[in-house]
């Protein structure tokens, strides 16, 4: 039995034995192939041909007849199918020429790569077939669901108190380095300054702004908080107003108010 029939049995229309394809069935049949290589492998198996000695002329003829049939019924086939047709034609042509010697001096069979790719796909299909022999939970056997239970008391990890002094020493060292590096890391706590900046920003904008568009360059928690305070203050003074647009709140300067 070809692997592609066993794989998803029950859901798949059986592929007819002969070359004759019932009307309206071609599309369904081609749908079952994962690509041109798969169609080719199926043709080879149906003809009981040997992958290592593919009669390229005959396989190509059959392959093209499927493509022709598909075209006649105006089915859309992936470009891969045409690419494969071109490859087959090329192999067929090279078969007519004397075989060029490869680097090792041995004649190289023009079918070698095709045979290798077909063999790989055949192995995949055999593996998929093997997988279908496995039982499945919920179909062939039944597993209980993990049992509910009371919350588990948390067990603190084991930690020796002797580690703490060393940790603290490291922290203090880093702390000192930080202070040495940035002697005056004083944050701009100036709320009034920030209020002016926010207002300036909103007034100069050509459209209402989202909150994140007004954020200062330095975005630590403190600065974001300060920014929020500035916005709240400006809203309170009605120098800014909130607009509900496209599912978000936007900030807009209120025209005419110049005295903050």
């Amino acid at each position: 039995m070809p692997a592609d029939q066993g794989v998803a049995s029950g859901e798949v229309m059986p592929i007819p034995e002969g070359l004759y394809i019932p009307p309206d069935a071609l599309e369904v049949i081609l749908d079952q192939f994962s690509g041109p290589l798969d169609l080719l492998l199926w043709l080879i198996r149906r003809n009981r041909m040997d992958i290592r000695d593919i009669p390229v002329a005959e396989v190509t003829r059959q392959y093209l007849s499927y493509l022709e049939e598909a075209r006649r019924r105006q089915l859309e086939l992936a470009a891969d199918y045409l690419l494969m047709a071109a490859w087959l034609a090329e192999i067929k042509a090279r078969m007519l020429l004397p075989l060029p010697p490869s680097e090792e001096g041995e004649a190289e069979d023009p079918r070698a790569e095709l045979a290798l790719r077909l063999a790989k796909l055949a192995q995949v299909q055999a593996e998929a077939e093997a997988l279908t022999t496995l039982p499945r939970a919920g179909l062939d056997f039944l597993l209980p669901t993990a049992l509910a239970h009371d919350p588990v008391p948390l067990v603190p990890p084991v930690l020796a108190v002797s580690r703490l002094p060393e940790l603290l020493r490291q922290i203090a060292q880093r702390h000192r380095h930080r202070q040495a590096r940035a002697p005056a890391p004083h944050f701009a706590f100036d709320l009034r300054q920030r209020i002016l900046e926010v207002l300036q920003c909103c007034r100069s904008a050509i459209r209402p702004l989202h909150f994140h568009e007004i954020l200062p360059r330095q975005r630590d928690r403190l600065q974001v908080g300060l920014n929020l305070l500035a916005i709240l203050e400006l809203l309170r003074q009605q120098a800014l107003c909130l607009l509900w647009q496209d599912e978000v709140w936007l900030l807009s300067a209120v025209a005419g108010d110049e005295n903050v």
């Binding site: 009371d150 067990v155 603190p156 703490l164």
Partner: protein, 173 residues
């Protein structure tokens, strides 16, 4: 073990629906063929079954692990104990040596923000607690270590905390 198909069926249902099932649904499932299912349920609730405890309340029925096996969960999960994350260790060290201390002060020591999840975890271990609040804007919470912290680390008092040699670390101010 005595055979009892109805009891086994009931148990199978409860083991598939470990989140619990309503008595109404049970009756829809069992009522026709097994009108006596409620008696079996009452019996199971009373005696439990193997490692299972059956809980029936508020019209819901659930099979749960009997609490006496709760210790298994730790043994099953903690094959390899998780190492404490560094941020957790450092936060604990700062609190232990500088208590009582506010979160902004801890952050100042570490130089980076301390997420509330970190403090929560240390609270979950029952190692730290809020000792009070500092006067001032926002009245920030003051954190300190618990008696469980002392017990866990084998200390009889905070005075027994190992000394830290900060001379190399801190410049004389």
């Amino acid at each position: 073990m005595s055979e009892d198909p109805l009891r086994d069926l009931l148990l199978a249902i409860l083991l598939l629906r470990t989140e619990g099932i309503s008595e109404k649904d049970l009756d829809a499932l069992l009522g026709n063929d097994h009108p006596q299912w409620r008696e079996v349920l009452v019996q199971l609730v009373e005696t439990g079954w193997g490692p299972l405890q059956l809980i029936a309340q508020g019209g819901q029925v659930q099979a749960r692990l009997h609490p006496r096996y709760l210790y298994l969960l730790q043994e099953l999960q903690l094959e390899k104990p998780r190492p404490l994350r560094k941020v957790l260790l450092e936060t604990l060290a700062i609190i232990a040596y500088h208590q009582p201390i506010t979160r902004p002060e801890i952050e100042d020591w570490r130089g980076v923000a301390v997420g509330s999840g970190i403090l929560q975890q240390l609270q979950d271990f029952d190692w730290i607690e809020i000792k009070g609040h500092r006067d001032g804007p926002g009245r920030p919470a003051l954190w300190g270590t618990t008696t469980e912290f002392l017990r866990h680390f084998g200390l009889s008092s905070l005075a027994e905390m190992p000394a830290v040699n900060l001379e190399n670390a801190l410049p004389e101010s």
